[in-house]
């Protein structure tokens, strides 16, 4: 019965802990690993134009679907203009409107994105494009070319590659020459290619975007070709015909709509500036969470004052130490003094570092034990005896600090970080065991305590674990669940396998 309650409770705690964890990790994007900084790219577009006499309306294509990138925020700086964004044919359009404006106008639109591989093309599958109306003699050229390419290709991808190869041939055949007559821009070229693909009933479109790299004062668009093979969109380099996408390619808009339309203005000019910043991954996640309107961040430890955060980053490791303690005691079966003594010693090791921690601890306990045995002759009662040991421990710590300072070993000063009450109790327990069970048992349990302390220290000192628990404190519920289960673990301890080896032999 109890057993079942424990299982149910442990399962509930695990599910709760893990689901909050997954939500924060997958949806809100809290980082599980420790590289706390992520590049955030800010792209600013400035639309400049001369205002006309009447009302002004400005439409600018802005990013909608951005594979490989997630939008952190966007904003617009435009004095006096009404601002809205709408979904349009090529994706999303930002629209500014004003009744009347004078002189030179500048409208800024700024968007910040960060890399996130989980964002992929979630666009719908397009219908087969209608056969485009093309006039003769273009029509024949297209038909011949499409027919030739079809003969030399197997599927959509190889068709596209072959088509692009022919179109880019330095010594083109006459059909290609005819089709490309008068085309002088990359966008125009891709436009012709999409038309040809459409006549082969292959859905294709232009993509315009920026390869994000460093700081760019005035970034130029790169036009790329997107082809749908029935399952997903493929990207093709229109110049080489390779199926690829430039590194960190941010898709700004798709299709052949113009980037900007200005009604009631003239001399329109659009400039793009790109800047990379390093931003705390946690800050990004919190912004993300705020956008989603979730309360998960309200309970984030990152919202606490920095000083308190520092305290908690240590405190949250204590459950890890307790977990190690449970495993070492109940599953491995190592003898140790005191339930949590090794964990507290491990905490002290964090400050002293392992090597000096071990030396100082051994020194302190050895000296303390010696004096405890001397005290034993006085036959003191328990509480006065414990107090005497405690005072001796404090004096010893002082002594060790003074001596090591004299000798110039500054690490010796950190002996003050050991929990003196715990050390005093350890010395007392050790001396009792020493008398009752003999020196061998006492030293074995002493070494066991140190071994557990070192194991706890190792885990409690893992930076990624500390980050993980601090960012996702709900994982403590999972640890709690494990400890509950361990509390009902009735299997053998590892050391019992050796203890009962005589029985296993027969």
């Amino acid at each position: 019965m109890t057993q079942r309650y424990v299982y149910v409770l442990a399962a509930l705690l695990t599910i709760l802990g893990l689901s909050v964890f997954f939500y924060k990790w997958q949806v809100l994007g809290f980082p599980v690993s420790e590289d706390l900084e992520m590049p955030v790219w800010t792209i600013e577009s400035a639309v400049r134009f001369k205002s006309g006499p009447g009302s002004i309306k400005v439409n600018l294509q802005v990013p909608a679907l951005t594979p490989g990138f997630r939008r952190l925020n966007e904003n617009s700086v435009s004095r006096g203009y009404g601002f809205s964004t709408n979904l349009g044919g090529g994706g999303r359009e930002a629209q500014w409107a004003i009744r009347r404006a004078d002189g030179e106008q500048t409208i800024y639109y700024r968007i910040s994105v960060y890399e996130d591989d989980s964002v992929d093309e979630s666009d719908t599958t397009p219908p087969f494009p209608p056969t485009p109306n093309i006039n003769e003699p273009m029509r024949t050229a297209v038909d011949v070319l499409v027919g030739d390419v079809r003969d030399q290709s197997a599927d959509t991808a190889s068709f596209t590659t072959e088509l692009l190869r022919r179109m880019n041939d330095p010594s083109p055949d006459p059909n290609v020459e005819l089709l490309l007559a008068g085309i002088n821009s990359s966008a125009g070229f891709v436009d012709v290619v999409t038309t040809m693909l459409a006549s082969a009933r292959i859905p294709a479109r232009m993509v315009h975007g920026f390869p994000l790299a460093g700081r760019q004062r005035s970034a130029a668009f790169v036009t790329w070709l997107e082809v749908h093979d029935g399952d997903r969109w493929l990207y093709f380099n229109p110049v080489t015909g390779d199926e690829s996408l430039p590194d960190r390619f941010l898709v700004w808009w798709r299709g052949n709509d113009p980037l900007v339309k200005v009604e009631g203005g003239s001399n329109v000019q659009v400039d793009f500036a790109i800047q990379a910043n390093q931003l705390d991954a946690v800050a990004i996640a919190e912004t993300q969470a705020a956008q989603l309107g979730t309360s998960a961040v309200d309970f984030s430890l990152y919202s606490l004052p920095i000083r308190t955060q520092a305290v908690y980053s240590v405190l949250l490791m204590i459950p890890i130490g307790a977990l190690i303690m449970v495993i070492m005691r109940n599953m491995v079966g190592i003898d140790a003094f005191g339930t949590f003594m090794p964990v507290l010693i491990a905490l002290a090791f964090r400050e002293t570092k392992l090597f000096w921690g071990l030396i100082l601890f051994t020194l302190l306990v050895t000296l303390g034990l010696t004096i405890r045995f001397l005290l034993d002759r006085l036959r003191l009662l328990l509480v006065p005896r414990l107090s005497a040991v405690l005072i001796v421990v404090v004096i010893l710590m002082l002594f060790i600090s003074m001596t090591s300072h004299r000798l110039g070993i500054e690490m010796g000063l950190s002996v003050a970080l050991f929990p003196m009450v715990i050390i005093a109790m350890t010395i007392e327990r050790m001396s009792v065991v020493w008398e009752e069970r003999g020196a061998a048992d006492a030293i074995r349990a002493g070494l066991g305590s140190l071994a557990v302390a070192v194991a706890a220290y190792t885990f409690m000192g893992m930076a990624w674990l500390e980050h993980l628990i601090f960012t996702f404190p709900e994982l403590l519920l999972v640890i709690l669940a494990f400890v509950l289960l361990a509390g009902r673990y009735t299997g053998y301890r590892l050391t019992e396998l050796t203890r009962f080896k005589e029985l296993a032999r027969n």
């Binding site: 299997g491 053998y492 019992e496 009962f500 005589e502």
Partner: protein, 316 residues
């Protein structure tokens, strides 16, 4: 490693985790612990239940009573002074006789002479909590000194050999004889280096021994074979230990008995957390026997019935 665990599981070896979680926590309610932790109370309860215990000559509870010590033992030449809540045999003084010339000078089991004043000081220490593990005030018991039966004389090095019986819900499940060695300093505690010898439950004959988790054939100090010794009054021992369940109410109990040359088996103390090495001494695990007891458990069975069942079921 897993195969070892599986093998141990197959022969029903009880591990510490299982003992603590499934036996002690389930069967031994905390409130019953004083009945076994305080030897004065244990003795009192056992006497009321009609069990044989070493006679109690007197109890000293307060410092003021320490000087009454001499009057308690005027009639006696040998006696034992022990703390009621001591552990591991600490603080026990075994007086085997008096000096021929002076009545107020006592001879200890080691042969040393000790004055009445020194014994009083020792008692005063016991009362002050010197030997009680918790450090609390304690009582000093002055009781009959067991003249132990010669059966185990050849396989004991000084000290008092005793018999430990594990009693599960009133049914004796497993037993061993604990033989003091030089290393155990005359104490019958396996942790301190005593030899434990398994016992065939049906015949009361000793089996092989265990020393520090290893099987041994002979006593390490005397070199005499441990195996094949017949424990006298085995029936009575089983029945007395079965009765320990009624006395203490503890479902998982270790009953420690000694065999006196004249008075037969006497209950020395009982233990709410008996150790697990008894399994090595018997070359078998406890869980199988416990499972069998659960099958045949009958709340109405008398201690004698339960002892008989143990003899019938748990032959080696």
């Amino acid at each position: 490693m897993l195969s070892t665990a599986k093998k141990l599981r197959d022969i029903g070896v009880l591990g510490l985790n299982e003992r603590n979680a499934d036996f002690i926590m389930r069967l031994n309610p905390r409130r019953l612990y004083p009945r076994v932790d305080d030897k004065a109370l244990t003795k009192d309860l056992a006497l009321k239940a009609g069990m044989a215990v070493p006679d109690l000559y007197g109890v000293i509870e307060h410092q003021a009573e320490v000087r009454d010590f001499a009057s308690m033992v005027t009639e006696r030449d040998s006696f034992v002074v022990k703390p009621a809540q001591g552990s591991g045999g600490d603080g026990i003084l075994v007086v085997t006789g008096r000096s021929d010339r002076k009545r107020d000078s006592f001879r200890l089991s080691s042969g040393m002479l000790i004055s009445e004043g020194e014994i009083q000081h020792h008692i005063s220490n016991i009362v002050g909590g010197q030997y009680s593990l918790s450090g609390n005030r304690d009582k000093a018991l002055i009781e009959y000194c067991v003249r132990f039966d010669p059966t185990f004389a050849d396989v004991s090095y000084q000290g008092v050999p005793d018999i430990r019986v594990i009693v599960y819900r009133g049914y004796p499940a497993m037993a061993m004889v604990r033989l003091p060695t030089r290393a155990s300093d005359g104490k019958a505690n396996l942790h301190q280096g005593a030899v434990g010898a398994g016992v065939d439950m049906s015949t009361g004959e000793t089996l092989q021994g265990v020393l520090d988790d290893l099987l041994v054939e002979e006593h390490p100090d005397t070199g005499v074979l441990v195996k094949g010794l017949k424990i006298p009054q085995w029936d009575f021992i089983l029945e007395s230990s079965a009765r320990g369940y009624e006395v203490t109410g503890l479902g998982y109990l270790g009953v420690d008995m000694v065999i006196d040359a004249e008075r037969g088996p006497l209950i020395l103390e009982m233990n709410a957390r008996p150790g697990l090495n008894i399994q090595i001494a018997n070359c078998t695990g406890l869980t199988n026997r416990v499972a069998r007891i659960e099958e045949i458990f009958d709340a109405g069975a008398s201690p004698a019935d339960r002892a008989a069942i143990a003899r019938r079921e748990f032959a080696a």
